[in-house]
Each structure stands twice: as structure tokens, then as C-alpha cells.
Symmetry: D2
Subunit: 273 residues, 4 copies
């Protein structure tokens, strides 16, 4: 028995995945025939339900990884390896208000919406209408659209938001928008960026030296997979070698009201991995 | 102005970090003298408040990364690079019920408690009393203890929990506890493990071949940091080369009620990174 | 003008590479027609020579990398990233006498033959006749066959060689042949192994604990390539993640004649990278 | 029995390493007393010889790795992981004539001298007198100085050499010297560079777009070491994350005499690792 309103994943005999917010009266049209959602409700997770053509589908509770993997994409997406780290560095959690631009196909948007919960809010900006629509469609499919406000417009004039908790920019020239960040976030808020080339990283770092940011970090994350064979364990032959560089910082120069001028800094401590 | 009940981070002139759930009447004793929390409440994030000895402290809203970094530790902790990926693979989010063992100093526990929100629940098992106490202390300091139930006992007799959404084991011989997993989770639930040596990974993979698990993956995550100097951008000289191998799987063999026996599997698809 | 007897590489308009030990009277049959080697002799490196059908070929002096890349292969070959390190760890240079087994398609054999020079000698063992022939053919094509003695037989009965300077084993179960190594090498000689799985590495390390080896090291080498675009410099999207683990050691336990028993060891020093 | 004239390595009880070109009448002064080289000659590799104070030294034939590790250094040296790949890409072998600048402490110089043999020649340029002297001293200690010609001068006016087989630059601004390369090498010769920052790599790549170079590659090499414990095999906790970027190219634009103008290129093929 699964409560209606829950998000379920239905896996076809061939491995195709369907996502659905459960409604008892609902019917899912698959390549293998129709699935009655009331059967899913009654039989619960792990069950095998059958289409009217008798094909067996497995009912699962999807993980965020499942959702990201199934994002319908027309752009390069941000991958779980990067998303997981971004979430932790930006302090995203239940109740957060976070800004992102651009949303692209919506992989990071999905993750942000997942983590902020019903009490939080994601403000997404996307210049290209087609991607904004795709992102919206991806969110609707999994029932997370109500947590996200997608603005089809540009961010050249700023974000039109105040006191958000965090911000992430996945745009080509983030240095052009830095000036709008302080007005949109709480002081000291964490900000992040994703950039594919070292030249862009260098340009961004230069622009960030204006005194508005501290604790600047640059890093990249690599995932190396192994063939899971116990008696012949070894890494896979090839791996993804690059998606992008992650840049993180904290909004705000050191406090101005310091009684010992010049002494205070966010100490650039040894970071953990 | 910060609402009482919020978690704040207070950074000393020397970079020492204090965490506090804000109470207006509260006083924080620091190495630099006393800080009145009502000043923090009134002045808000980014403000510089002064101790009675006149030392300047900066008020910040902590990120999860800040919390993990400040976990008081007497064990090796799980690091953000691994935690971020674990969270996504296990589908942790607001409302989740998740099991972990052992909790050690509580870095992963902190993250799990952070993400499940007030509606979720973390069931932590730790055999050594001293670590259970340390973990509890670390959680209390940041006000997340109410989301976590720490059992000081062992898991040899099972977890005593039903229908949890996910499970993570960070113990030396996880293969000894596999039999207790199906009874504790919903069918198809994601499970994860962290192991430092290849020999342990091999032993675990062997034990997982009993048919109770599918979609088994083994991977490791590497973070490479750069010196953030725009005109001389280059990786840091040294990096953390190993924390542990991550193993993920889905509980449950393929469905039994399949009309086409032997055909159904969770297709071992090409995973994303 | 190139001296006859030199090895040249001729590159076709489509990038196909031909290797030839220059003989003035020789004719090279290419897909684009015949090339007179006397033209190559006269025109020299960097020249463009034409086939009788008028197609332009460029004359180059090949590097070892060129030779390895062009090895005709029917097996997995050892790659330059690993070969370069092997050569340095094994102390291969002009005049060396080195043993290897098995030779496979002959990539490492080619490198060993290249570096030992005319005064050195490579003793190659290959159980499978077809690979021994292929290796021989690859060596003949580049004129290095006289430096290599390929034995088609197995090494189960030993190597039949004495006082060689170094040894490298690229076989599936190297631990079965360890007993034959001391008789084949000078005392203290460097030995190396390549193994694809961690299970094999573990088995080899166990077998090496019998006291015959010291200074044991295990490592792997990764090459990460970048797209060489100055204004958009970034790593390639994918990379080779694994070829094999390299194991190195020095033959021989600490000296037996030590006046301070137990004190002497080859100090397991901090190795450089 | 070791033939006089051979290079030997003598390892002290504490692991200190002494290198010596064997001369029967020679005496080595160590921290543990005097060692008669005639004892070394007579007892051979692997033997334990004693100082006049009775301390036991082990006699070994050094590998190139041993030599590089023992280079007395006052600069950052080039490491074996990079040297091995450089040697293969530049086609260094017995008889080669190769140019390098600057020589620094002489780690790469040592390797080049090792591989070119008695028939080859290394032309080293070093602007700073102190490093040139140090490099010379390091080479003399191991008997390779006769293969190397160290010029204390700068390379601003060119190299003063013709038709060398290969060239390697380890200088801060290699793009300032590119114009002198074609005159110093045979057409089509391989060239290499080592640079620590991405900004330098980008500058070099820009300068190389003038048409004098083809087949340009950028890469980096990582060595990951494992703790060699068979039953607890795992990577070391930390590793060297960066030494420098390697850039390789081939001197010379595509042939000018091409009958099909514009068609010919050194095809930028898929490189091996």
C-alpha cells in the first residue's frame, strides 16, 4: 500500500522508467499497455504490477539519482557528483530559498527542489524559452514544480529577489552578473559557479577580487567506477574526465566594523575534501 | 534581525567557529569574552558583533559544509565529497526515514539529520558508547538531535526497524549484517556502504551475490583543489587520494511474479557520473 | 639527406603511417602507389616525397611513441604512460640485459629493444605461438629484431638465463614464477609486474612476502589529456581510467652478512612520484 | 665481481645512498668509515661490504629511478612520472642529440644522458650559474658528465645548434624562444614543454598557432600509490596532485610541396595514453 500523492517509479521489463505522482484513479499509458495506478497503490513498493497486455512492471520509490538520471535533456546537465557537493557547500536544506541561473534542462533545479522541501523555494532563471519550458516539464513530471519559480527572463538587470540563502550560476559569463549578487542574498551567503574551461575560471576569479567575496575555492570532482566483480575487481576502462570546474565563495568582504582593522578575515582555512 | 531558533555560526577574529541555536537571552562564552545573543538577533547575518572585551565576531548562517567541517572528531569522518553522493544515491530528502551504522563522530549523521528535516528520522547505530556520546554531543550543539535516534547497541540482532527508506553501513564487516537489511527497509530501497580496502569491497560483493541485491555499483570520488589565483591558476600540490570505496545497490532481486520468468532484471544501465 | 640504415616514418595524405629501415634501392608499396626510397634518402626529414601516382608523403624520424602507437596488435598492449615509468624503475638503458614475459603484441618489447641499444639484449618469453610471431613481425618492421630473443616456450621451468639486469612480468599468475626469478637476475635487481585486477595484486603481494623481495611498491598511472585550444582550455570529456596496476620490487632480502642482525633493511623510503 | 668503470650504489645501514663509478684503487669516505672499492669489485652486486669501522653496506646496481631520486636539488625537479613520458614522446634513445633548457638541478638532464648513451649528446642550457654548476656536479657524481654539454648562457639568441633530434623546454616563458626552435632541430622533430599553470599553457598554445608546430597535445600525468599490504590493499591517503602540464608537438607545418594544397595535415589522431 502506497499513499496517494507519493512519487513512484515504474520500471518496464526492458528497463524504461516512468515517474508518476500516485493518484488512485490514474492510468499510465506505457509502451507495453495501460497500468492502473490503483494496483500500484494497493500492491506497494517492490511489487510487480501488470499492464492490460500482461507485461510486468516493478514499482519503486525513486531516489534523487533516479530523477536526475531521467531528466529529459537538450543541454549538458550537471551531474550527481557535482550536485552533491554543490548542495553541501551551498547549505541547501529544508526551508531554503535559493537562486539559480540558468536552469538548462533542470537537473540541478530538480535537486534543489527536492532538498528545499515544501517550505523552501527555488528561483530559477533561464534566458532561453525552450529550456525554461523543458525544465518546467521535467519538474511537473515528478511533482516538484510548485517549489520552483522559473523566470524566462535574463539576469542582466538583476534577480529581483532579496535575502535568498544561496545562489548558483551555471552561465557562460558569470562575471557579468556579480554586481547583482549582494542585493539578492543575505550577507555571508554561499555562492557557487560551474565553468567548463580554465580561461573562464581565471576570468571569474579576477572579477571576484573586487572585495565582494571571500573564502574563494576552485575544485573539480572525479568519479571513478569499478566493475563490481568480486573475484576480478578493477576500475572500469574509461571514465568521465571532466564536466566542469566548481567555484565556491562566501558573499561579503570581512566585516567593516572591526575594532582591529585589517586583522579580520574569513581565515582561508585548510578545507576538507 | 534573525529569528530566534535559527542556527548561527559566530566566527572569531582568529577564525574559530562557534555554533548556536539562537535564544535571545542567551550568552556565548568565547575565548575573547562574552557575546550577547540578543545583539546577534538584532544585527543579523553578516553583522559584526562585539564581545564584552571588544573583540569582533562575524555572524553567519552556516552551511552543511561548515557543520561537517566543525564536527568534533575522534574517528575518521566521512567527507563532504562522499556524503554529497551518498545523499543523492540513497534518495535522502525531507521526510525520509534512514538507517545508518556506525555513526562514529557523526559527520554523516549530521548530514542525514540536516536533509530529512523535521518530518524525517535518522536511526543511528553505534557499538562504542564513547562514539555514540560524541555523535549525540555534536548533534546537540547544532540543534539537530531531535531528528536522530542513536542506539548504543550493536546490529548483530538486526535493526529493530521496519520500512525505512534507505540504509548506509560504515562498519568494518558489513557482510555480516546483510541478512538483516531486507526486514528493515521497503522493498527496492537503496543501500550504501563505505569501505577503505579493496579486500573488503571484494568480500562485500561476494556476499551480495546471494540474490537480495541488484544494481550493484562500486566507485570512488576524488576532489582536486586549485589555488584560486587568476593569473597563476594551477592545482594544489597535494590532494587527498583516498577516503574509501562507496558501494551502492538496490534491495531486492527482480520481481518474482514476472510473467516472463528470467527476463526481468533491473537493467544494469550505463550510470551517469 | 638521410643515411641508409636509419628508421623512417612515411605519413600518407590520409595519415597512415609506414615504417621502413632505409635502403637506397628499396621501393615502398603504399595504398597510394610506389615510393622510391632513394628519394627519401636524398630529400631528408620533413620532406614531401611523391608516389608514382603523385600522392604526397611526408618523411619523419619516428619517436618511440610513434612506434608503440603503430604496433599491430591482437592483445591489449602496455601503454606509453606505463612503459615510461617501467623503463625508469627497471633501470633500462644502453647495454642492459632484460627479461620479459609474455611479450603479447610487443609494445613493451619494442620499448625495451629501443632503449637497450645494440649492446643490450631483451629476452622475451611468450607461451602463445601466434603472439610470439606477431611480436617478431612488429620488431622486424622497425629493424629492432636483432636485439630481442623471443622464446616461444613457457616460463614454468624458469628463464634459462643468468645475471640479467631486470625483469618484467605481464602474465596472469606471476606468483607462480617468482621462484625462478632469483636465479635469473643479478642480486638486488629491479623487477616489475603489470596486473589488471586488485585480486591479482593482492595474490602477488602475498607471494612476495617470502623474503625474496624488498622495497615493494604498488601504483597506477593516469594520463589526463586537454583539448589544446588556448582560449578554451579544458580537459577532454573522457579518459582512460585503467590499464593495470604496476608492482615494483627489488630482488633480494637484506644482506645476510650484516654485523648488526635485524638492523639492516632497504629502508622503505618515501618514494617520489 | 663487478667490472671497474661500472656505476654502483652503496647503501648504508641507515639507508643513505652513495654513488660511485668503480675504480679498484678507490676509497669511499662514508659517515660510517672508509669503504675499499676493491672489496666492492670482488664481492659483486648484492654483497654486503664493511667499512673499516665494521658497518655493513650493500652493493647495488642503481636504476635511473635511484639516480633521479638522489639528485641533489636546489630547484623543483622533474619527476619520473613525467620524465618517462617525455622520453617516449621525444623519441630519446641511444645516439640521440637532444636540447634542453633550463637544466635546473639536472633530474631530466640525468635521464637524457642515461638514455642517449655514449654515442648521443645532451645540450643543456641554464641561465643561472649556480644551477648549471649543481647540474654538472650531479652528473659527475654518476659519471655521465661526458655526454652532456652544459651552456651557462641564455637561449635568447638561440641555441647555436643544428639538426638536433628533439628539444625540451622547462622555462617560465617558453613562447619567447619558439622562433629559435626550427633552426635547431631536424624538420618534424618532437618538442616538449613543462609548465605549472594553466595560464602559461594557454599562452604557449597561442604562440604555437603561428604555423610552426603541429600535433599539439596537452596532458598531465598522475601517479597514485597503494599501501602494499596484501590483505588490506588500499591507496595511500594522500598523493602528489600536480607537478606540471606537459605540452608536446611536432616541429613543422604540413609539407609545402603538397600536390593537393590544403588537404595535407598531420592528422590529429586519437592519441593513446
Amino acid at each position: 500500500m502506497i499513499e496517494p500523492g507519493q512519487l513512484v517509479m515504474l520500471v518496464s521489463p526492458k528497463g524504461k522508467r516512468y515517474f508518476r505522482v500516485l493518484q488512485t484513479e490514474d492510468v499510465l499509458n506505457t509502451n507495453d499497455g495501460q497500468l492502473q495506478m490503483q494496483n500500484v497503490v494497493h500492491q506497494g513498493y517492490g511489487a510487480v504490477v501488470h499492464t492490460h497486455l500482461g507485461r510486468a512492471y516493478t514499482v519503486l520509490k525513486p531516489t534523487l539519482y533516479d530523477l536526475i538520471k531521467s531528466v529529459k535533456r537538450r543541454t549538458q546537465i550537471i551531474y550527481p557528483k557535482d550536485i552533491g557537493y554543490i548542495i553541501i557547500k551551498l547549505g541547501i536544506g529544508p526551508g531554503c530559498r535559493v537562486i539559480e541561473a540558468g536552469c538548462g534542462s533542470g537537473a540541478l533545479t530538480t535537486a534543489l527542489a527536492w532538498f528545499v522541501g515544501d517550505a523552501g523555494r527555488v528561483y530559477s532563471f533561464e534566458r532561453r524559452q525552450e529550456f525554461a519550458s523543458l525544465c518546467r516539464e521535467n519538474l511537473e513530471k515528478i511533482g516538484l514544480e510548485s517549489r520552483v519559480q522559473i523566470a524566462d527572463g535574463d539576469i542582466e538587470q538583476g534577480f529581483g529577489i532579496e535575502k535568498a540563502d544561496a545562489l548558483f550560476l551555471d552561465v557562460r559569463t558569470p562575471w557579468e552578473y556579480l554586481e547583482h549578487i549582494p542585493g539578492a542574498l543575505i550577507p555571508g551567503a554561499p555562492v557557487g559557479f560551474l565553468l567548463p574551461t580554465v580561461n573562464q575560471v581565471s576570468s571569474l576569479l579576477s572579477a571576484m577580487q573586487d572585495g565582494s567575496f571571500s573564502s574563494v575555492e576552485v575544485l573539480e570532482i572525479l568519479v571513478r567506477r569499478y566493475k563490481p566483480v568480486p573475484e576480478r575487481l578493477r576500475p572500469e576502462d574509461r571514465m568521465v574526465a571532466h564536466t566542469g570546474y566548481l567555484i565556491f565563495a562566501r558573499l561579503g568582504a570581512p566585516g567593516q566594523d572591526d575594532t582591529e582593522p585589517g586583522e579580520f578575515t574569513f581565515h582561508q582555512e585548510k578545507e576538507i575534501c
